[in-house]
Amino acid sequence: MEMEERQEKSMNEDVIVTKNLSKTYGKGDLQVKALKETDITIKKGDYIAIIGPSGSGKSTLMNLIGCLDRPSSGKLYIDDTDVYKLKENELARIRREKIGFIFQKYNLIPTLTALENVMLSMGFAGVDSKSRIKKAKKLLDMVELSHRIEHKPSELSGGEQQRVAISRALGNNPTIVLGDEPTGNVDSKSGNKIMEILENINNKGETVIIVTHDPNIAKRASRILRIEDGVVREENV
């Protein structure tokens, strides 16, 4: 009985499960298999670093987990939902509610202020304006940007923009926070700050997955997945 309970609990704690997940680009002779049949399981609260050389398939895996792209074959379960069976709008709902994506190049909307950028994803989720402003201010306060809320991305430094992007990713309380080289475009001091924020998020129980080529950053994670030529294997921490 006790074992069964433990097993069930463990099942419920699997936030991401991939089954034979693969992605091939191009056709015929030009075909490139960016990700080969991959089986990974990620549990709630995991802090995972995905490492590997350029072109090994890190970003491909990240984009598939983030539901930005569809696989060539295989399955992806997020909270037990077979997501690639979903229609486009339902997939958008998963991206909105379950996933917070942080890009290497920040990807803020240039015409909107920091506050408006953070509010945007909450707006897509249908959160009312008052609650959105309150939450966005709180999130920007958490990343120490309370004094910059009315600034546009062009008026912020790279590190500051990335912190706004982290706030935006957390707007809808996602289950999984994905960072594709989140420190790749910022100086080491800002990079450290960003990693501290992500670790704090992980300490609060969120699942954090980052792609990095920096071994020092990877070392801070609880699990490391190394990809080489599209093959994923777990590395001992």
Binding site: D69, E88, A92, E97, F101, T111, L120, F124
Partner: protein, 406 residues
């Protein structure tokens, strides 16, 4: 969410201000053309109605095909209404008054006998004259009054075109050798009026008979007691005169209200044609909006990818672009309406003062609520239609490809 999408659309328009202004200028010009044409058309309607509706109890009886806006000055056919006709008309129940207009040929000379031309002259009772003409029709001088003798009113062209020297108020002219003093000169009408007075030589019936020795009644003006009976009375009048002359179509009787109808019909057609031409500007404007929106979609590919990556649905993305197109066209439409009101006031003033005599019909543009509502709805429809395709293109983008776009 609408507020956010609106905010995004607004900020994007602001960000690309000069392009946005040029785009909305297109739609603005189209709407301006439509609003000013509608305003002037409506103003013309009101002016014509004002001019003719005071004569709604009036029936014009003439020999031949009848009085119409196509042939306001009837040709002298050599056939005339007779005294018997007039007496019969006066006896028809419901007829208030019958006034006659005499027409004939006469020689007109000014500044000596060598400058003589043959022209048509018109004689009227003072009362009839007062119904048809007022001081506002005159460029110079005054209208004739009861008891006036040997005085005439002349058209603008008679005064300034017929002879080498201009005829002035008080000038002496000779009609069939008899002296007349010019009491008034009509304003230049050109094509602006319903009938043209430019070649008119108008004198009292008495003077007409004295000068020509004839009393050819060319037109009779009948006024009736009951305005609602005016159409049936016109038919009866026609029948009475045709019976007198033993012909089916000797005379025709036309009520002023039927003239008003046909004038309004023609102006309606003219207005529709002009508005249709102006609509071409709107088609061009809508292509402009579509072009701007497509450029905007291309430039913001990455932004679209970001929105989708953070959970925006196809519908969200589509609505952002449609709102943007709508906003552009509504700003364009609203400024077009304002420009249209200013434009129509200008054009109306120009039309009112056309010709050296400042003669044209006094014209005030009438901007109706319908015109404004139409202007706004047309611009809205143009905005939505021309942004559907770009918005659809944006919504269909794959999030990963869009995010990667450099």
């Amino acid at each position: 969410m609408f507020r956010d999408n609106f905010n995004l659309a607004y900020k994007n328009i602001k960000e690309r201000l000069s392009r946005s202004v040029l785009t909305l200028l297109g739609i603005s010009i189209g709407i301006m053309a439509i609003i000013s044409l509608m305003g002037i058309g409506e103003g013309m309607n009101v002016a014509v109605e004002g001019e003719l509706s005071s004569l709604s109890d009036t029936i014009i009886v003439s020999v031949g095909e009848g009085f119409s806006i196509f042939s306001p000055n009837l040709d002298d056919t050599g056939e005339y209404l007779t005294e018997r006709d007039i007496n019969d008309l006066e006896r028809i129940p419901g007829v208030k008054e019958v006034n006659t207009q005499l027409t004939g040929m006469a020689s007109l000379s000014f500044n000596g006998d060598e400058n003589t031309i043959m022209t048509t002259i018109t004689g009227m009772e003072i009362e009839t004259m007062n119904i048809q003409y007022g001081l506002e029709d005159l460029y110079r001088g005054s209208i004739l009054e009861n008891g006036d003798q040997s005085k005439i009113l002349i058209g603008y062209d008679v005064a300034y075109e017929y002879f080498d020297n201009d005829i002035q108020i008080g000038s002496r002219v000779k009609i069939n050798g008899k002296k007349f003093f010019v009491n008034g000169i009509f304003s230049k009408q050109g094509m602006g009026g319903v009938s043209t007075n430019d070649d008119l030589l108008l004198l009292t019936s008495r003077d007409f008979q004295k000068t020509t020795g004839e009393s050819n009644i060319f037109i009779a003006t009948v006024s009736v007691y009951d305005v609602t009976e005016v159409e049936s009375m016109a038919l009866e009048i026609e029948r009475t005169i045709n019976e007198n002359h033993g012909e089916d179509d000797f005379a025709s009787a036309t009520s002023m209200s039927s003239i008003l109808d046909s004038v309004q019909n023609i102006m309606g057609i003219l207005q529709t044609v002009l508005i249709a031409i102006a609509s071409i500007a709107l088609v061009v404007a809508s292509i402009g909006i579509m072009n701007t929106m497509l450029t905007s979609v291309m430039e913001r590919t990455r932004e679209i990818g970001i929105m989708k990556a953070i959970g925006g649905t196809n519908k969200d993305v589509m609505s952002i672009f449609i709102i943007e197109g709508l906003l552009l066209s509504l700003i364009g439409g609203a400024s077009g309406i304002i420009l249209g009101i200013i434009g129509s006031t200008g054009v109306a003033a120009a039309l009112s003062n056309m010709g050296p005599g400042g003669g044209g019909m006094p014209l005030e543009p009438v901007i109706t609520f319908t015109a404004i509502a139409l202007g706004l709805s047309v611009s809205m429809i143009v905005g939505i239609l021309s942004s559907i395709y770009p918005a659809w293109k944006a919504a269909k983008m794959s999030p990963i490809e869009a995010v990667r776009y450099e």
